[in-house]
Amino acid sequence: MATIRSRSGLGDEIIDIKPPTFLERVHHARTIAIDALEELYKSKTAFAGAIMLVSLVIILICAPIISEYNPIKPDYDSFLQEPSAEHIMGTDRFGRDIFSRVLWGGRRLVSIAISAVIFGLLLGIPVGILSGYYGGYIDSIAMRVVDGLLAFPGILLYLLLVTLAREWHLEGFWNDLILVFALGFAFSPEAARLARGAVLSEKHKEYVEASLNTGEANLYIAFRQIGPNCMSPLIVESTVRLGYAILIIAALSFLGLGTPPPTPDWGSDLSAARDYMETNPYVAIFPGLAICYTVLAFNLFGDGLRDILDPRVVER
């Protein structure tokens, strides 16, 4: 317990500063959550996106319970069936239930995308905050590197990294890890640039000066005080980026550069379905719809968050 003795005109008074008790913490967290939900409810897009995302996450987490079929084991008695009560999305060329494959593929895809974005943030934010806070040569050098990495058009940087992974014969988990690394690495310059921009507009504010005057360490000010105030553009960008990451992973595996079959994957399932879609379009439709749904959910949520977090836009 710490005490502070303040000398005001009214005489000495002692203020106790206690660490909050557990119940107080819970109460605080609850207030924050309720406030956040109220804000969320104000934006129709964010709310719709949030509902879509929550249901997606629940379905994906419950995939082992929901899906009755093995997504990998072939069943030659029932190949290329149309949607029915047994197989609600039909079956693919090996008789595997498409619905289970979509669910299990989604689990993998969404977790890769989320880990990739988190990795990119962890890599980019410190660079952005430090270069924005210190400025000078560090800043110029960091930003030139960022510009250089951003010059890689579209999918090419991923193609380079995925090719490298293939040549080193990385498979299964390691291949997924490379995807996480590639997508995160490609996101990091964007994250660094956003963090830097926010720090630049934040670092001349009074609270920073006050902290400097009371002798706080530079790193403490940069990360603990300025940092949290720079998060809103990053949160919006990360949400939108999650959708983009899913598109990229699906595109790479569509090109045959992702995880090799029989692992369920929306992209490679689509690419395999191309040979059968003339007679059986369902094989090509459902994995694509799954990608659309997921990406749309992230985009809606990101759009809505932007409206909520950027007051300038709301006024329109």
């Binding site: 030139r144 590197v145 510009d147 250089g148 990495l149 010059a151 890689f152 058009p153 579209g154 999918i155 090419l156 940087l157 193609l159 380079l160 090719t163 490298l164 040549e167 080193w168 959708g243 598109l247 699906a250 595109a251 569509f254 090109l255 045959g256 550069l257 689509l270 191309r274 879609m277 003339e278 379009p281 090509a284 439709i285 694509g288 990608i291 659309c292 990406v295 749309l296 985009n299 809606l300 759009d303 329109r316």
Partner: protein, 316 residues
């Protein structure tokens, strides 16, 4: 303007440096001996030839010397020989550039023709059913994976209706009508996604412009609403749209890898994809470098164009 141009060109140097370093490191990071990767197995077997080649590429020297030697060759247009066709890589690449430019330019033009009027109308009739429809369609547009959209187009227009060829390419100089037939589906797939982006962009920049004071002034002077919007507001709102479309054009040149693969379009994206499949490293390396440089140059031109279109920027 001249000083700005020179300044901007100087800024390109570090960007190009990062780009070349990453592309150079790609070959170094591949498993196995660099000489085998670059020359192919058969030619590198003889120890004497090997020695000679090592000298030529500077492989017996430290890595920064190797980088220097490589850059020197690249500046002279020598990217090495393709491991598959044994022809100079530069030749292979430059043969495939026209097809990509053709597709990208037509795609971007289609998207701008759709998106600018749509975005403008959505902004003018804000919060009307038209606006909501435009917003929802464009949001869906950026969420649909382009390869899935392409497959669905093929499924419907080529396989089901049989109106258009499902893939292939013909030069417009050979037979314009036939060439356009091949072009429609890929260009629509490119254009749809771009149109979605551009609509959102035009709408938001239009809304920004409509809140400015000169619009009120124009109205108070008694100009008709049509004149205010189409003569003054839209013109200013087009500036960011054109800029971003330019940047997207650059991105498209690299990002059409997936679409070119689906439609067997013999552009630079497909060349890189086939090179990855065939493990043709010199071609991968050169292709990505060339595309990166194109992006950097297009970005520069767009920046300069922005200054020409919007002279007010120079005053700040």
């Amino acid at each position: 303007m001249l000083i700005y141009t020179i300044n901007r060109i100087l800024h390109m140097i570090p960007v190009l440096f990062v780009l070349t370093v990453v592309v150079f490191m790609f070959i170094q990071l591949l498993p196995g001996d660099v000489i085998d990767t670059l020359i192919g197995d058969e030619e590198a077997e003889d120890p004497a030839t090997r020695e000679l080649l090592m000298k030529e590429y500077g492989l017996d020297k430290p890595i920064y010397v190797q980088y220097g030697v490589w850059i020197g060759k690249v500046l002279q247009g020598d990217f090495g020989k393709s491991l598959v066709t044994r022809r100079p890589v530069a030749l292979e690449l430059f043969e495939s550039i026209p097809a990509t430019v053709y597709l990208a330019v037509v795609g971007i033009s289609i998207s701008m023709l759709i998106a600018i009027p749509l975005g403008a109308i959505a902004a003018v009739k804000r919060n009307s059913p038209t606006d909501y429809t435009a917003q929802i369609v464009s949001l869906i547009g950026i969420s649909i994976p382009e390869f899935w959209f392409a497959i669905m187009c093929v499924l419907f227009f080529s396989l089901y209706l049989g109106w258009l060829p499902s893939s292939g390419y013909m030069s417009p100089f050979e037979d314009l009508g036939q060439s356009l037939k091949y072009l429609i589906l890929p260009a629509a797939a490119v254009g749809f996604r771009q149109a979605a982006y551009t609509t959102r962009l035009t709408r938001s920049s239009m809304l920004d412009e409509m809140n400015k004071e000169y619009v009120d002034t124009a109205r108070s002077l008694g100009f008709s609403e049509k004149k205010v919007i189409y003569k003054y507001t839209l013109r200013n709102a087009m500036i960011p749209t054109i800029t971003i479309s330019g940047l997207q054009l650059a991105n498209l040149l690299g990002g059409t890898v997936v679409l070119e693969t689906i439609f067997a379009w013999p552009g630079i994206g497909q060349a890189i994809y086939l090179a990855i499949i065939d493990r043709d490293y010199p071609l991968i390396q050169a292709g990505i470098l060339v595309l990166g440089v194109i992006v950097v140059i297009v970005n520069l031109l767009v920046d300069l164009l922005y200054r020409v279109l919007n002279p007010r920027v120079a005053l700040n």
